[in-house]
């Protein structure tokens, strides 16, 4: 089971990217099976409704962050998914308050499961969030295999250039791709991500 962890701040566009990524993978010639593990911080789910509406297999963990307080739920859910579905791909969508690198560490240490982190950074709110919660936002990029800098359509050129440079500095050498996730994302980006998960 190849595993992708999708992380990034609240409202950065994780679910929008996930819809494209999952459809890209399931559309490949050998029709690989994809299961999504959805984690939401509140008591009610919203993203799972969108994903299930797109005919994707979704398992949800509500009301606890799987990077920390809900780590046991993460392990339980991944084991259940592996035994029930035996999927080719697992995509874990973290909450917007999660540290994806902690999820990666837990999966590796407990289940021996390797994974790659796809980190999403919101270009339009980058400067604002770096004032409100700089350490947290920076840490969310830790261990990223690849970064998408989203909402380029809502960001002026100067702010985008600044965000790109700062995200690049925080990403430990990972490639950073500016995208508008409302438009089709270049398939080469998904191929690069998938090759890192092989």
């Amino acid at each position: 089971m190849k595993t992708i962890i999708l992380g990034g701040f609240l409202g950065s566009g994780k679910t929008t990217v996930l819809l494209q990524l999952a459809k890209y993978i399931t559309g490949k010639p050998d029709f690989p099976q994809v299961v999504i593990l959805e984690n939401e911080i509140g008591e009610v789910g919203v993203d799972n409704e969108i994903l299930e509406g797109a005919a994707l297999a979704v398992e949800s963990v509500f009301s606890g962050c799987i990077c920390c307080t809900g780590a046991v739920d993460l392990i339980d859910a991944v084991q259940t998914i592996e035994s029930q579905y035996e999927p080719d791909w697992l995509i874990v969508e973290a909450t917007g308050m999660a540290q994806p690198s902690s999820i990666q560490t837990n999966l590796k240490n407990i289940l021996g499961l390797d994974s790659v982190i796809l980190a999403i950074a919101d270009a339009s709110r980058w400067s604002k969030l770096m004032i409100a919660s700089p350490v947290f936002v920076r840490n969310q990029l830790e261990g990223a295999g690849l970064v998408l800098l989203t909402k380029t359509d809502k960001t002026d050129a100067d702010a985008l250039a600044k965000a790109y440079e700062e995200v690049k500095q925080c990403s430990g050498g990972a490639q950073v791709y500016p995208v508008c996730a409302l438009d089709p994302i270049n398939e080469k980006i998904f191929e690069e991500l998938m090759s890192k998960a092989e």
Binding site: L10, G42, G64, T69, G70, A71
Partner: protein, 158 residues
């Protein structure tokens, strides 16, 4: 699921806005073997059964359920107005909007009944129910502040 414990005797308690004491404060070893400290609470609100406030790290989340019996257009207007008011007031109080998102579902019920082995009668509900469920996740506000904002602007649709 987040574990919720109430009235842990050896820890400092905080009085919830509902007047009860609820506190959960623990250190734990994460699955990765490192020691983590988490401080998370669930506030029990008796004032509004459709609003639940939880905290995680620096964020405060209001989980909200709203039932509308207006038509869809009117329900959307009310929902948008509610979301905008929560966003604006969060910023006015110096908080940061994390994510405010709702899913609006439409359903029309039907009842099926029988009193013999032959006929099954069907009655359609005379109204369509619209149900919105979602969250307002913010940073920089207290749980009490967020609860107040959400409760004040909650659409009184039912």
């Amino acid at each position: 699921m987040e574990e919720v414990k109430e009235n842990v005797p050896e820890k400092e308690h905080e009085e919830c806005c509902c007047g009860h004491e609820h506190h959960h404060d623990h250190d734990e070893h994460g699955c990765c073997g490192h020691e983590h400290h988490h401080d998370h609470e669930r506030h029990h609100h008796h004032r509004h059964e459709n609003i639940e406030i939880t905290t995680h790290e620096d964020s405060v989340t209001a989980s909200v359920k709203i039932t509308f019996r207006e038509d869809r257009d009117r329900a959307e207007v009310l929902l948008r107005s509610f979301m905008r008011a929560v966003a604006e007031e969060t910023e006015a109080l110096g908080g940061t909007i994390g994510h405010i998102k709702f899913f609006l579902k439409e359903s029309r019920g039907s009842m099926f009944s029988m009193t013999d082995t032959e006929e099954i009668q069907k009655k359609n509900a005379t109204y369509t129910e619209l149900r919105a469920e979602g969250v307002a996740i913010v940073l920089g506000l207290t749980p009490e502040q967020l609860e107040e904002i959400v409760a004040v602007h909650y659409p009184g649709a039912v």
